[in-house]
Amino acid sequence: MATLLRLDGLSRSFGSLKVTDNVSFEVAEGEALGILGPNGAGKSTLFNLITGGLKPNAGHIHFAGREITAISAHERSRRGIARSYQIPHPFGQMTVFENLLVGAIYAGGRREAACYDDCHAVLEETGLLSKANALAGTLTLLERKRLELARALATRPKLLLLDEIAGGLTEHECLDLVALIRRIHAQGTTIVWIEHIVHALIAVVGRLIVIDAGRLIAEGEPRAVLADPAVQEVYLGIEAA
């Protein structure tokens, strides 16, 4: 399968703190990749580097065969990179439907009328149809998380980055979400998912990487990676706490 995303020797520091330290990996088209790592390991920074919110101090990012290291965040979203935030960031003063329209029009590069059916379908898929005309600021946490996902989907991404989207949900809500993400993946969207809730993660992803202190410490088939002593040392400490 063709490579969709490739990171080469990516580094980023804040002052003397190396948050991302010489990270390289590839994501194939149609793949679902999971990222594990303790809090503060630099996982979210990695997403910010990929979406263009942060620029790396060193290294290169290629997407769909072209280098995107230097291009702006809005241009990257137009090329097909979308993300959800760990803490939902809806446009609170706009309706749920409008939240989706913005991305569908600007990132999708389509005319407004052409987006209505599409946004409607995304709302139906994510279970938000009954809230379409509610102000996004009035939604519950679960609805906001779904909106994060819906808004990213409305941009018709090739690559969907999910940042701890299952955190703070009940077991039942979590299962629903996993089913939804599996459906999105099955429809052909490539997914990279950062998550602490391991059982949710491995229900979806086919490959796992582990990041600790900005460095990639393990990579491979999920069960093998979780059984790796180095990973257990870093990660099970978190699980126990």
Binding site: A73, H74, R78, F91, M94, E98, A107
Partner: protein, 276 residues
């Protein structure tokens, strides 16, 4: 005067609403538009209202250029740099106008319209010109409301105003969008400038005082609300008129007192946005 103050304030509220930029040069841009109108009228001999056809696009283009070439470079987490740059812009415009047009007080002439009035009752009449200004202010605000709440561009403005970073992830080029916001704002400034020139005498130094009226109207109305801005302009205008009736020296003081009273009673303005 209420409609005029509302027009002054609309551009300010627009710029602040979309990009959290406080433009100290706003008053001087209004005066710049008035002088631009004067130059067009003197060069071509057309009616000052017709000069809007030229002044509005010129100011809008200037706005886009200023935003892309100057203000975008200053926007960031810190609110101080754009404040300082716009303060500098204010001084540059004042001196440029002084250099080109001298310190003489000027006025845009519209002939008989200036004194025409409509008689409503035996001892009650309203001037045609103030009425035109007021209706124009309503039309401008109505137009902006439609743009903001009914169009794709307006949605992008609101999204960027709410969360600039996330808006970028939705494919919105915020530098271009800010340029457009400033262009629209200076288009409104152009209208305000021409009406200012028609209603009163103006010279290069009156910009900062217009800025204060604009600020007061914005804050009386509640930050970020366009209809609130209109209400703020009216409150300020009516207060000044009542003050002037009591004693000519009371005109400005009455306006400022009304502003202080609103601040004391409704610190967030008359029509604050639901939440920030």
């Amino acid at each position: 005067m209420g409609g005029l103050y509302a027009l002054f304030a609309t551009g300010l509220t627009l710029i602040f609403g979309v990009m959290r930029l406080v433009n100290i040069g706003h008053g001087d841009l209004i005066v710049l538009a008035a002088f631009l109108g004067l130059a067009v009228v003197e060069a071509t001999g057309i009616d000052p209202f017709l000069s809007l056809i030229i002044v509005v696009p010129v100011m809008a283009a200037l706005g886009y250029g200023l935003q892309r070439g100057l203000f975008n470079l200053t926007l960031g987490r810190d609110i101080l740099p754009p404040l300082l740059v716009s303060f500098g812009l204010s001084i540059i415009i004042q001196n440029l106008l002084l250099e080109i047009f001298s310190a003489d007080s000027r006025k845009l002439q519209v002939g008989a319209l200036e004194t025409a009035s409509i008689r409503l009752a035996d001892n009650l009449a309203i001037g045609v010109l103030p009425l035109i200004v007021f209706l124009c202010a309503i039309a401008v605000i109505l137009g902006l409301q439609v743009v903001f709440y009914r169009t794709t561009l307006g949605r992008a403005f609101r999204a960027t105003s709410d969360d600039q970073q996330t808006a970028q992830l939705m494919g919105i080029d915020n530098r271009h969008l800010y340029g457009l916001a400033m262009a629209i704002a200076l288009g409104v400034v152009a209208i305000a400038g021409i009406f200012l020139g028609v209603r009163t005498n103006f010279d290069p130094s009156i910009g900062p005082a217009r800025l204060i009226y604009a600020f007061e109207a914005v804050i009386i109305g509640g930050l970020g609300s366009l209809w609130g801005t209109l209400a703020g302009g009216v409150v300020l205008g009516v207060a000044q008129s009542i003050g002037a009736k009591l004693d000519p020296g009371w005109q400005l003081l009455a306006g400022h007192l009304a502003f202080l009273a609103v601040l004391l009673i409704r610190p967030r303005g008359l029509f604050p946005r639901a939440y920030d």
